[in-house]
Structure formats: structure tokens, C-alpha cells
């Protein structure tokens, strides 16, 4: 794959990013507006000797990518709205069993079948809390075709590095938008593979955290013959009922992500240095917000943008610091108010937080954001 300039749709760029990262297995179930991710990989995976499977349902697709990952492949599934809901139980399985895998959620409106062809950002809490139990998760929120490519590569890297499922959540607007994209040459972007054990099979424990919170991972059929379960387990991988151990292991799971938040959290700050009002926005809203900032600056208003590319773990410290130095934070989102709760929580009352919410299938435009900014400045 030489460095190439192409005109691609966001969903297509996602597939290209997956291939660049070394993905060799995709399992999915067709659902709008994510389908092109599958369609591109159905063409391209066979060409590199990988496997594409259209499974019988979303649940099976999520299960299959976990199985494939345990057998040593980097694996991906892509879905939207209702399909994402169906995958949740097995996303929890990947989290507790610490199996690397990547889930794309091209967000549409909801609940239920909702707005299949319209954009939404109302799955953002589902990304964090969709499955039962306490579990770690990483969610990335690219806003352009180029970013979808690079963030997909990053998703695989983070997944392999932290032995954790990683979600890429972008709205239908970005997924279906066509933009110019530069596909880097092989080797240009770093590719991270899971750390393999360097001990003899009889000395290997799949969840041994004595040397760090992220234990090395052996693939099946490599002579290690270990046990994987969705039950709370000890370092050997076998279920335990000892309350104390369950608590300690659950904390380790959370800690392996939380303690590495600086490595995982990525964001763009745009004209924030002297800003009196900050906009917190991601995905399509982040694009509208950027234009709103530019227009506001032309009119002498000190406005800036905080645009998260990692939304889980949430950039809590950064938002608290931001809240301490601006008069207010404006949160435009394609829901009736989800991520604004996190902005409110993490700004700890240090600033005024105002939302702009929309769920009618149309984007929030720069004008709407500017109107709100004028109100709060």
C-alpha cells in the first residue's frame, strides 16, 4: 500500500484503517448507516488472505470477533444503533476476559429503530455503560474521513496494548461524508501488537498482573492451553468466589485504562488559549463548532473549541481545568443531552454549562452554536 491520495467516504476510510492496522478478520451483520465498512472489507479481506463473515446476527458477529482474536487475529465488527445494543453482552465479555477487539458504531438516532438514515450521538452513554457490570472501555470519536482512518489504526493499537475492547463511535454524517484522505505508507504509523508471554507454558498465567496491570497474552494453539471465561476469575483464568479477589481484579481492570489515561486520551484544542467561552463538541458537531469559532473570532468574540478524539475515558482533568478559566462551556450534541452530563460533572460547578440538543436527523449548524455563544458570552 503506497502512500495515496483518495476521495473516500468515512466508512470506507474506517475499513482502510483497519487493514492498515493489521486487521485480518471481520464479522458483522448489515445495518444502516454502518454497512459500507463491511462491504469494503468483504472485497478487501480475501485479497490479503483474511476472512470476512456476515453472521446470522449482531450477537454472533461480536462473539466471532472475540473468538478470532483469541486465535490470534486482529478483528473488527461494525454496526449502528440497535445492532450496537445487541452486541453489548459480548462487549462485556471482551472486557472481563481482556480480549482485544474493535467495534465500530456509526451512530444514528434512536431509541429502537429510531432514525436509520439520520445521524445521532445518543449512543455515547451506551458506549460507556451499555453492558452490565463495571468494566473498562475506550471510545474514540473521529470527526473527518482522515481522522476516521487514523483513529481506526489507533483503536487497534490501544486494543492490543491494553487487552481491551475499543469502540470507534462516529455519527452518520461523518460516516457517509466524502473527503480527501491521505493513506500513509506502511510503517509511517506505528502498529502495536499484543505482548506475548516470554515464559514457558507451565509458568504462564493469562491474568498474572504481578509485572503490571496488562498481562501478556498468548494466543490459542501456541502451546499455552489456558482457560478463558466471562466469570470473575483469578490470575489463572479460572472462576473464583473469593470476594476479596474479585474486587481486586475488577479494580485492576478499571485501573489498566484509568492509570494510562494520558496515553489514551487525545483531543484537539482550537483557539482556546484566550477563550472566554469554550465549545465542547465531537464528531459532526465538532465540525460545526469549529466553523462557529472561526466566525466568532472574525467578529472579535473570544471563543474556542475543545474537541475530544477520546471520549471514554472522559478527559475529566482537562475539562475541569478548562472550566476554571472560561465563563461558560457550550455543548452541542445530537441527542437530548448525554455527554453534557459528563461536562457538567467534570467542570465541578466552576463554570456555566449550556447545551444545544437536536434529534431530528439534521446536524447542528454553526449558526445555532453562534446564537448560543452570543447568549452566554
Amino acid at each position: 500500500m503506497a502512500k495515496t491520495i483518495r476521495l473516500l467516504q468515512g466508512n470506507e476510510a474506517c475499513s482502510e484503517g483497519a487493514l492498515y492496522a493489521g486487521c485480518t478478520f471481520f464479522a458483522g451483520y448489515p445495518i444502516t448507516p454502518s454497512t459500507e465498512v463491511a462491504e469494503v472489507l468483504a472485497v478487501k479481506l480475501p485479497l490479503i488472505g483474511g476472512a470476512f463473515m456476515q453472521m446470522e446476527d449482531e450477537i454472533a458477529a461480536m462473539a466471532a470477533i472475540i473468538g478470532a482474536s483469541l486465535a490470534g487475529s486482529k478483528s473488527l465488527t461494525a454496526t449502528s444503533g440497535p445492532g450496537f445494543s445487541l452486541k453489548q453482552e459480548n462487549i462485556g465479555f471482551a472486557a472481563i476476559a481482556e480480549v482485544p477487539c474493535v467495534i465500530v458504531n456509526v451512530m444514528r438516532g434512536g431509541p429502537s429503530t429510531g432514525v436509520p438514515t439520520g445521524p445521532g450521538q445518543s449512543d455515547i452513554m451506551q458506549c460507556r455503560w451499555g453492558t452490565h457490570g463495571d468494566h473498562p472501555i475506550i471510545t474514540l470519536t473521529p470527526a473527518s474521513v482522515q481522522e476516521i482512518f487514523t483513529e481506526t489504526v489507533r483503536a487497534f493499537n490501544l486494543s492490543e496494548k491494553y487487552r481491551n475492547p475499543v469502540i470507534i463511535a462516529f455519527d452518520e454524517i461523518v460516516g457517509h461524508m466524502r473527503e480527501k484522505i491521505e493513506i500513509p505508507e506502511p510503517g509511517e504509523l506505528e502498529i502495536i501488537d499484543r505482548t506475548k508471554p516470554n515464559v514457558a507454558p507451565e509458568e504462564y498465567f493469562p491474568y498474572d498482573s504481578s509485572k503490571g496491570d496488562i498481562p501478556p497474552m498468548a494466543n490459542f494453539f501456541e502451546g499455552y492451553r489456558y482457560h478463558v471465561t466471562g466469570l470473575n476469575h483469578d490470575m489463572t483464568g479460572f472462576p473464583v468466589n473469593a470476594c476479596e479477589l474479585i474486587h481486586v481484579e475488577e479494580e485492576r481492570l478499571m485501573r489498566k485504562i484509568d492509570a494510562n489515561r494520558d496515553d489514551i486520551i487525545k483531543y484537539e484544542e482550537f483557539m482556546l488559549d484566550d477563550a472566554e467561552v469554550a465549545i465542547f463538541a465531537y464528531g459532526a458537531c465538532g465540525r460545526s463548532a469549529k466553523e462557529a469559532v472561526e466566525t466568532a473570532r472574525e467578529n472579535g468574540m473570544k471563543i474556542g473549541l475543545f474537541r475530544p478524539l477520546t471520549i471514554w475515558p472522559f478527559p475529566d482533568r482537562e475539562i475541569e481545568a478548562l472550566a476554571g478559566r472560561v465563563k461558560s462551556i457550550v455543548v452541542p450534541e445530537l441527542s437530548l443531552g448525554q455527554i453534557i452530563l459528563e461536562v457538567e460533572r467534570t467542570s465541578k460547578g466552576k463554570t456555566r454549562v449550556e447545551g444545544i440538543f437536536r434529534v431530528d436527523g439534521d446536524p447542528i449548524n454553526p449558526g445555532q452554536i453562534l446564537d448560543m455563544v452570543k447568549e452566554v458570552i
Binding site: A51, E56, L70, N90, F220
Partner: protein, 276 residues
């Protein structure tokens, strides 16, 4: 000399969790004998299960083992098989796991004819959850959630498998344990989706509610009601009523899924390089 099971067991995991009178231990031993006879190494075998009593089996055996979510074992196993088609993949599942919550995965794995061996432990009940009825609970039988007798028609796993496209269907029972390991070997050696249904006894949650006074009664019931296919076929209709055949009930050759897939991969890759 007594057969030595220990090389195939995670011996430190015993005693097992199964109830007194449960026949899963008998079946576990038959599966181990079958795996040994099949000649495939422990490193080259993955054993996958869902949730339920039978699904705890992988924890006791020294292989690459994966205990998944309820009903999803076959879907997890499909992912493994597709990226490692040369490896031996077994699914251990129960009647509820395979035919209720996992019914969709089961029929589609049969349809694809992917080379996975699915061993269904059929004890006609949800044992681990305490005795609720399953899709194989006989009509009229009692369960905690069918306290007045089961009104649901039940699935025949043999017919379900054949109808969905499985290319190997066999049935054995825990009573006829000596014959089981051969069925396991045949199921593993068959290229394609193999279904091996093993009739089991759950004295605790099924037998107790269904007039089986003790575990032995359940085994004797199997002895009386399950007969080898060749003998079954010779029975006059009035004697065949209420009896079920055992052995290899159905076996045909059909293209196997992962092989067909990777042949396609080979074909498109050679075309890409300018071949035809």
C-alpha cells in the same frame, strides 16, 4: 489396566461442581477417550462452551478452553475456526444453550457446514438455573416453570440438525457410555458440522419432578428407550413408539465452509496477480 484420564484433565480443578447422580462425569470421560483416539494434540484443539452445567466442562480439561456467554459458544467457535481452519474446534453445550438462546447460531452453523463438532448434553431441563423447561423438555413433563406439565412442543435435535444442514448427526446416551467415545471420534473426524446429542440424566432438577425415584432409574430409562439405529429400524411400528435410535443417524459429504471460503480467497488472490 484402568484408563488414565489424568493427562487430559486439569486435575487440580476436581472435585467438579456437578450434582451427585449427574451423568456429565461419564460423558466427560467418553469425550476424553474420544479426543485421545482422534489423535489430535491438545495444543491443536480448542474447546468452547456457553453457560450451564455442561458448559462448565472445558474448565476441567487441559486444552485451549473458552467458556463464553449463554448460547453463544458456536458463534465464538466460528470465529476461532475461520481464522485457524486447520485446528480442531469442539463446542460443548446444553439443550437450552444450543436450541433456545443459541438456536440461531446453531442452525446457521449447520447451514454453513463449518467444521466444528457440537456436542449437545441433552438433559431435557435447565439444570444450573434450577429446573426450568427447555426446548427439549418432553411435552407433559414437569419443570419449575411448567408446574402443571409442559404444554410446549419439543425440539427433536436430530431433525433440527438435519433440517438446518448439518452433515453429521449422531446420538448417544450416558447409559451407553462404552459406545460414546467412538461417536466422539467419528464426529471429530467428520469434515463439516457434526452434531452429537448425548442424552443425560439430571436427577436433581428433572428426575425429582418427573417420577424418577433415584439416579439409577434415569439410567435405566435410557437403557429401555434408546436402541442402536440398526435394531431400531427393525422394530415394528408399535414397538418403535416411544423409543429412539442411537449411533450415527445421518452422515453426508458436503463442501465445508472454511475450506470453500479459503478456496475463494486463493482464487481471487491469483486473479489479482494476473491469473485466471
Amino acid at each position: 489396566m484402568a484408563y488414565d484420564y489424568s493427562p487430559y484433565l486439569r486435575n487440580e480443578k476436581f472435585p467438579h461442581i456437578w450434582c451427585p447422580g449427574c451423568t456429565y462425569g461419564i460423558v466427560l470421560k467418553a469425550i476424553i477417550r474420544g479426543l485421545e483416539k482422534s489423535g489430535i494434540s491438545k495444543d491443536d484443539t480448542a474447546i468452547v462452551s456457553g453457560i450451564g452445567c455442561a458448559s462448565r466442562l472445558p474448565g476441567y480439561v487441559d486444552f485451549n478452553t473458552l467458556h463464553t456467554a449463554h448460547g453463544r459458544a458456536i458463534a465464538f467457535a466460528t470465529g476461532i475456526k475461520m481464522v485457524k481452519p486447520e485446528k480442531n474446534v469442539l463446542v460443548i453445550t446444553g439443550d437450552g444453550d444450543a436450541t433456545a438462546i443459541g438456536g440461531n447460531h446453531f442452525i446457521h452453523a449447520c447451514r454453513r457446514n463449518i467444521d466444528i463438532t457440537v456436542i449437545i448434553f441433552n438433559n431435557f431441563i435447565y439444570g444450573m438455573t434450577g429446573g426450568q423447561y427447555s426446548p427439549t423438555t418432553p411435552t407433559g413433563a414437569f419443570a419449575t416453570t411448567m408446574p402443571y406439565g409442559n404444554v410446549d412442543p419439543h425440539f427433536d435435535i436430530n431433525e433440527l440438525s438435519k433440517g438446518s444442514g448439518a452433515t453429521f448427526v449422531a446420538r448417544g446416551t450416558a447409559y451407553h457410555a462404552a459406545a460414546l467415545d467412538r461417536l466422539v471420534v467419528e464426529a471429530i473426524n467428520h469434515k463439516g458440522l457434526s452434531v452429537l446429542e448425548i442424552i443425560n440424566a439430571c436427577p436433581t432438577t428433572y428426575g425429582r419432578r418427573n417420577k424418577f425415584k433415584n439416579p439409577t432409574d434415569m439410567l435405566l430409562w435410557m437403557k429401555d428407550h434408546y436402541v442402536p439405529l440398526s435394531a431400531y429400524q427393525k422394530l415394528p411400528p408399535e414397538k418403535a413408539e416411544g423409543k429412539y435410535p442411537t449411533g450415527i443417524l445421518f452422515r453426508i459429504e458436503k463442501p465445508e465452509y472454511s475450506e470453500v471460503y479459503y478456496e475463494m480467497v486463493k482464487r481471487v488472490r491469483s486473479r489479482e496477480k494476473g491469473g485466471r
